[in-house]
Amino acid sequence: METRHKVAIYAMMALVMIFFLGPIFWFILLAFRHPSEAYTLPPQLFFEPYLGNFGDTFVDPGNNAPQLLSSVIVSTGATLLSLPFALAAAYALSRFAMRGKEFIMNWYISLLIAPPIVFVIPYFILMSRIGWAGSYRAMIVTLQTLAIPFSVWLLKSFMDEVPLDLEEAAWVDGAGRFAAFIRIIIPLALPGIIVTSMFTFVFSWNNVIFPLALSKQSTTTLPVGTISFFASTGVYWGHIAATAVVAMLPPMIIFLLLGRYVVRGLTFGAVKG
C-alpha cells in the first residue's frame, strides 16, 4: 500500500478513536476534578487531581457503597439463576433434531428484543402483591426474561462446537446421556459457559429499567444510584461522575478480558468472531 494511503487511513482512524474514546476520557477526568472546576472553559487537561468525589460517594457518607454491593448481588444472582435453565435448553437445541427448533430459537430472541418496559409495570404491581417489593429476588427473577434467552443462544453456539464424536464415544463406553453431558460437554464447553456468564453479568449490571421500578432505596443498584444525584437542588457532576466511573469499570474490564469473544457475545452467538 502506498504511504499516502496509509497516512490517510491512520488519520481517519485517529479521528474515529478520538470521537469514540474522547468523551469517556473526559468524563473520567471529571470524576477527579474539584466540583468548582466542572465547568471551567477553556477545558483544562492538566489539573490537581481531587479524590473527594469518590470519598463523598463511597466512603463518607458513602451512600453509593451499598449500591455497589446491590449491583454485585443482583447481577451475580441473575447470572447464576439463568445458567441451569439455559444449559438444559442449549443442550437440547444443540444436540437433538426436533420439530419447531427454528420457532423456539426465534421465540427466545423475540423476548430479547421486546420492550422491557412493557413487562416492568405489571411486575411492579405483582411484586408488591406477593410481598417481594423492593427485594433482590424481584430483580433477579424478572431479569431472567433477558438472561435466559440470551444465555440459551450464546451457549448453544458454544455447544455446537463440541464434536459429537466425543460424546458418542462416551456412550459406547457405557455412559448415559447425563454422564456424557457432565463428563464431555460441560468441560469442553466450559470456556463458553464462562464467557456466557460474564456477558449475562454485564447485561444485568448495565440494566436500569428493572431496578428503577422494582428496587427500594436500600436495594437499588449503582447505575440507578447515579440518577438520584439529579436532585432538585442542583446537579452534582462530581458525584455523578465518580459513581458512574465505578459503575462503568466492571463491564469495561470484562469486555477487555473477553477479547475475541466480544463479537460472539454481542450478537448472541449468531456471528462467530
Partner: protein
C-alpha cells in the same frame, strides 16, 4: 426397549421445558394483567385496586391524554435514522480496520468501550458534554461558528431527539464496526481474487460481492439494533426526560410516565397492548421479508 426410546424422543422437550415454562410465566402474567386492566379504570393514586369497568375508555385515552402518536413517530424516526447511521458509519470503520495496518488490533479492542457502558452512564456522559453553559461540545462548536441553541441541544425541540440518536450512535457504532469487521474476515478471499481477475474495481467489488455476502450478518444486526432503539428508555430518561414538551418522547418513555409517574395503571395497560401489537407486526414483517431463507 420402547420406554427408553420414548424417553429419548421426549428428552429435548423435557430439557427445554424449564426455561420455556419460566419465561412463559414471566411474560404471560404481564400480558394477561395488562389485557384485563386495560378495560378498567385504575389509578394507584386513588386506590390500590381497579375502581370500575370502563370499556374501551383507556384505549381512547391513550390517544387523547398522552402524546401517543408523537411518541410513535419519534420512536420510529429514532429507530430508522439511528440504525441507518450506525450501520454505514460502522461499515466505514470496519473497512478501515480491515486494512490490517499495524495497530488496528489494539484500536479494535479499545473501540468497543462505548458499547460496554450502561446506557444511563452514556447518557450522563453526554449530558455533561452537551451542557449549554460550560459543556465542552457547545464550546467547541461555537468556536468553529456552528449555531448552538441557547437552551442547549437537549433543551431545544428541534435538536433533542436528534441528540438522543447521536448519543446512541456514539454508543453503538463500534458494535457495528467490530461485528461487520468479523464478517469481512469471514469472506472467502478466493471470491474477491476471482472478481479482481475479472476486472472488478474497488467500489464494484464492495457493492456486488462484499455487501451481498455480509447480508445475513447485516440483517441480524439491523434487526436487533432497530428494536433496541425502538425500546429506547434509559437514554431518553437521562438526557431529556422526553422533553422539551413532548419533542423527544418515545413509546417506552410514554409508558413509564403513565405507569410509574402518574400511576395510571389502566391506561398504561391499554398502551402496553397497543405497543405489543406494533412490536409484533414489526418483528414478524422483518422475519418474513429478511429471514425467509435463513435457518438458525
Amino acid at each position: 426397549m420402547p420406554n427408553r426410546y420414548t424417553f429419548q424422543r421426549r428428552l429435548p422437550y423435557l430439557l427445554l421445558a424449564p426455561s420455556v415454562i419460566v419465561l412463559l410465566a414471566l411474560i404471560l402474567y404481564p400480558l394477561a394483567f395488562a389485557l384485563r386492566n386495560s378495560f378498567w379504570f385504575w389509578n394507584l393514586q386513588m386506590g390500590p385496586a381497579p375502581l370500575y369497568y370502563s370499556g374501551l375508555d383507556n384505549y381512547r385515552m391513550v390517544f387523547q391524554v398522552t402524546p401517543f402518536a408523537v411518541a410513535l413517530k419519534n420512536t420510529l424516526l429514532l429507530g430508522f435514522l439511528g440504525t441507518c447511521a450506525q450501520f454505514w458509519f460502522g461499515m466505514g470503520i470496519a473497512l478501515l480496520l480491515h486494512t490490517h495496518l499495524r495497530g488496528m488490533g489494539l484500536m479494535r479492542a479499545l473501540l468497543i468501550m462505548p458499547t460496554t457502558l450502561a446506557p444511563v452512564v452514556a447518557g450522563f456522559l453526554f449530558r455533561y458534554l452537551l451542557e449549554p453553559k460550560g459543556g465542552v461540545l457547545p464550546w467547541m462548536l461555537e468556536g468553529i461558528g456552528f449555531p448552538v441553541p441557547p437552551q442547549g441541544f437537549l433543551g431545544n425541540a428541534n435538536t433533542a431527539l436528534f441528540s438522543i440518536g447521536l448519543v446512541d450512535t456514539w454508543q453503538w457504532t463500534p458494535f457495528f464496526a467490530i461485528v461487520l469487521y468479523a464478517g469481512l474476515l469471514s469472506i472467502n478471499e478466493e471470491i474477491k481474487e476471482a472478481a479482481q481477475v475479472d476486472g472488478a474495481s474497488g467500489w464494484r467489488m464492495f457493492w456486488s460481492i462484499t455487501l451481498p455476502l455480509l447480508r445475513p450478518i447485516a440483517a441480524f444486526l439491523v434487526m436487533i439494533r432497530f428494536m433496541q432503539l425502538f425500546n429506547s428508555f434509559d437514554l431518553v430518561f437521562v438526557l431529556t426526560s422526553g422533553g422539551p414538551g413532548t419533542a423527544s418522547r418515545t413509546l417506552s418513555f410514554n409508558l413509564y410516565r403513565e405507569g410509574l409517574v402518574n400511576y395510571n395503571i389502566g391506561l398504561t395497560a391499554a398502551m402496553t397492548w397497543l405497543v405489543v401489537i406494533i412490536v409484533s407486526v414489526i418483528i414478524n414483517l422483518y422475519l418474513f421479508f429478511i429471514y425467509r431463507k435463513r435457518e438458525w
